[in-house]
């Protein structure tokens, strides 16, 4: 690694949130739908049918382009990318070649400003399932065209990223942005977002780029990170032992945790791009673009800057990267919830479960917790029940008697019982083993789940003294 600079550019395919496919009225298939059940004559590429562009997909692409600070030309068009493969029903993919929907944007990732070369719109291909290992050796191959014709945005960056960390952060920031503006769910595990990094290494201070390889089959941020680290290592070893890098596409094997050669650019296909004659060029109406620009929500980078004024960076990293969490936090605080405690609650309790209540309810719960009216354990149960039933935290607390007991005389009775029942721990504690206190508190909480832990602890210490 030493003495080499890593250069990474990213090609990210994102499925915009639409009800129907890119060029036909078929619904977008849910994950794991039975094969070939979300298809029609258009996405099957039967003779005589024609593509009609999906306005919602165009809109999602334009919103994405605007959020990435891209320029949007007055005219754009679709082109045909020609190649024959059984997962491509028409023998060509409708994509965009020389007049994409947008160009020249940027995305800030940490301190790095990553230039965006273009964002364009195209259609997905189908899926092949092979009974054997590879297509040419397989006994049988099956084609599932549910995904054929599903819209895809392709977001292409300049080679501005300099490490695996940066590449992963870029992809994560992109996901946050796409979710914030509502353009896509961008879930990598569900195939709604696919990242294809191209990687080369060079000596620092050199102008020229090294020979690059492009990685495919990456379906998580973790895999993205690992694949890049592996590939950088492979290239470094090759160059340092006097070998050269072949420009090629490499796949990432999740099971073997390594990249492998898929196809060499020596035999690069000639895609014979030409303008799609079945779709007239689109004129991108300026008023429409401005309307979309005005309707964009606050972007994640701006919001994070604002959140950082009130919260530590660790909390902002979670809350600021999810529009729903950030909205919940800010509304709850506006309703009187304590900021830091609420942020901690969201980070530890809400984010992992992904289950959200209304901001008013959360504020109510946070105030009860802060006032010591309920224990943290009770608060968890109240929260879960509120999510499930939609009832207010106050109602639930009242019904279950979750209210916390802070009365010292009542707690002293329980504490005495704890001391009686745990002679060994008591002896340990008195013998100087302060950790023994944990076992005693645990027993106390078991006997009195609604005990205010602070007061109980104080009472227990008094009795032990």
């Amino acid at each position: 690694m030493d003495g080499w600079e890593v250069v990474i550019g990213m090609e990210v395919h994102v499925q915009p949130k639409t009800l129907t496919k890119m060029f036909c009225g078929c619904a977008v298939a849910p994950l794991n739908a039975p094969p070939n059940t979300y298809v029609c004559e258009v996405c099957l590429g039967l003779p005589g049918v024609l593509p009609v562009p999906n306005r919602a997909a165009v809109e999602a692409c334009l919103k994405t382009a605007l959020a990435l600070n891209c320029e949007i030309p007055r005219h754009t068009k679709f082109d045909r990318k020609n190649y024959m493969y059984p997962d491509l029903p028409k023998g060509y993919q409708i994509s965009q070649y020389d007049l994409p929907m947008s160009v020249d944007g940027h995305l800030e990732v940490g301190s790095r400003k990553v230039r965006i070369r273009r964002v364009h719109l195209e259609e997905d291909t189908g899926k092949l399932i092979h009974a054997g290992d590879k297509l040419h050796k397989a006994w049988e191959s099956y084609v599932d065209l549910n995904r054929a014709g599903v819209p895809l945005m392709e977001i292409v960056s300049e080679p501005d990223l300099r490490s695996a960390d940066e590449a992963r952060d870029y992809a994560m920031e992109l996901r946050t942005l796409l979710r914030t503006i509502g353009a896509s769910e961008a879930d990598m595990e569900k195939g709604q977002m696919r990242a294809e990094p191209n990687i080369s290494i060079r000596r620092p201070e050199t102008e020229e780029f090294g020979v690059k390889t492009e990685l495919k089959n990456i379906n998580s941020f973790r895999a993205l990170h690992r694949a890049i680290l592996y590939e950088v290592d492979r290239q470094t070893q090759a160059l340092e032992s006097g070998r050269t890098i072949v420009q090629e596409t490499r796949g990432w094997s999740e099971s073997e945790q390594r990249t492998f050669s898929q196809r060499s650019k020596e035999f690069a296909e000639d895609y014979r791009y030409f303008p799609e004659p079945d779709i007239p060029p689109l004129e991108l109406d300026r008023a429409w673009i401005e309307e979309l620009r005005r309707a964009l929500p606050e972007l994640p980078s701006v919001r994070r800057t604002r959140l950082l004024e009130h919260l530590p960076a660790a909390q902002v990293a979670v809350i600021g990267n999810d529009r729903d969490l950030a909205d919940l936090f800010e509304s709850a605080v506006a309703s009187g919830a304590p900021a830091l405690a609420t942020a901690n609650w969201i980070v530890n309790e809400v984010a992992p479960s992904g289950k959200l209540v209304s901001a008013e309810y959360l504020a109510e719960l946070m105030k009860m917790l802060q006032d010591g009216a309920i224990t943290r354990d009770s608060a968890r149960e109240v929260y879960a029940e509120s999510v499930e039933t939609g009832r207010t935290p106050a109602e639930i607390v009242a019904e279950h008697g979750y209210s916390q007991v802070s009365d010292e005389s009542e707690l002293r009775v329980v504490a005495a019982a704890v001391i009686d029942a745990n002679p060994k721990a008591v002896a340990d504690y008195r013998g100087g083993k302060k950790q023994a206190m944990q076992a005693l508190m645990q027993d106390l909480r078991k006997r009195a789940p609604h005990a205010n832990p602070k007061v109980a602890n104080k009472v227990l210490l008094e009795l032990l003294a």
Partner: protein
Amino acid sequence: MTDDLTQLTIKDAARLLRLGSISSADLVTAHVERIERLDKHVKAYLRFTPEIWERQAKEADRQIREGNAPPLAGIPLAVKDVLCVRGVEATAGSQILRGFKPPYTATAVARLFDAGAVMLGVTNCDEFAMGSSTENSGYFPTHNPWDLDRVPGGSSGGSAAAVAAGEAIVALGTDTGGSIRQPAALCGVVGMKPTYGRVSRYGLIAFASSLDQIGPFARSVDDAAITLALMSGYDPLDATSSNRPGMEILNNSAGSVKGMRLGVPREYYDVAGIEPGVKSAIDAALFILTRAGAEIVDVSLPHTDYGLAAYYIIAPAECSSNLARFDGVRFGLSEVDAPNITEEYLQVRRKGFGTEVRRRVMLGTYALSSGYYDAYYLKAQKVRTLIKRDFDEAFTKCDAIISATSPTVAFPIGSKTQDPLSMYLCDVLTLGGNLAGLPGISVPCGTSDGLPVGLQVLGPQWGESVVFRVARAYEEASEMRAEVATPSPLQGRG
């Protein structure tokens, strides 16, 4: 008696149906009988659709009885094999699509069905509409009803021959470089290619998407106009279809030509290879139009010479891509003993496509290849722009453009099959209209050596009504009518 029913125009047939003098069933029966007698010689049809005609004729008769008959109720219709009709085998004249039954109906056809037309069958054509003689059909050639030893023109030769032979009152064709107008001329019927975007292409098995248009064959200009109007207009399934109302075609389409300026492009008038008999028929037509009050003006289309070259880059380029879907995987011909997918593609396409289709796929693939794209495809598109400008310029000096449709009359079967270039030259007067997207019609204009000659009228974009007006005025002044031929093998001129 029944033959009389196969010589009617839509207008006359509709009147007889309305009066109750005949039924739609009678009309169908008369046509079926005539087809049984003649089509073994003409070979206009590839297949017949008795279930459809029985159902549609019954429905038409019911509508007529109830007094709510749509405009084409009961009119026998033939459909070119490139147009999809739900459940009816559609092969684009190719073996590669053998057995393919589309689960949808082309919008243009569906609109004529809604208007009451009764489909008799599917007509023969050059494979994927590539050709000018119908000899490139993957099934058999069609014969010209006026002389069975000659071609009917193409690619919509089956539809033209069906109308000419009294085997349908109206027929649908498609025109990519002249494939409606040229066979109409060679068979002595009316054939109309509308402005690009006038008629939805949904359900038309594409040859060259930016050039293809669907249009009618008929026995009179009025019949062509009403049929075209009924199938025109916006279709949400075709992004290139215009939202202009189809019925605007009929506005002022029946007036006189008095005071109109009709342009005669010198490049068309003196086109290389034009037969003297064709030229004199056109001269006579110009004289008739002048007498009817039109002014003949000299215009120029200076880039005509480059049109053919540009067309034979653009059309093959688009076809090379459009035909990629015929891979044997999902429909049509399928080769099962190939060791791998690449070999399967090769075997299916070698076996399924004819020579001309393979030639054009190769030409188009070459023209789009990296390193050649700029020199061929891009250059051809620039020529296309120049040709459009030529027409724009010409239409500042005239209201419509007049020429022969085809430089020659129908030629003997087999005379051009060994020389593709001479076949390509058949379209030299028509393909400019496709490159520029303009409406054009061919109407019967006398004979040369006993064979029909066609007069072409081209109009500006969306100027169908002007085209119909000139064509109709000529039809009236010349008293020239599309006649029905009754061929017998003995009439062949050997």
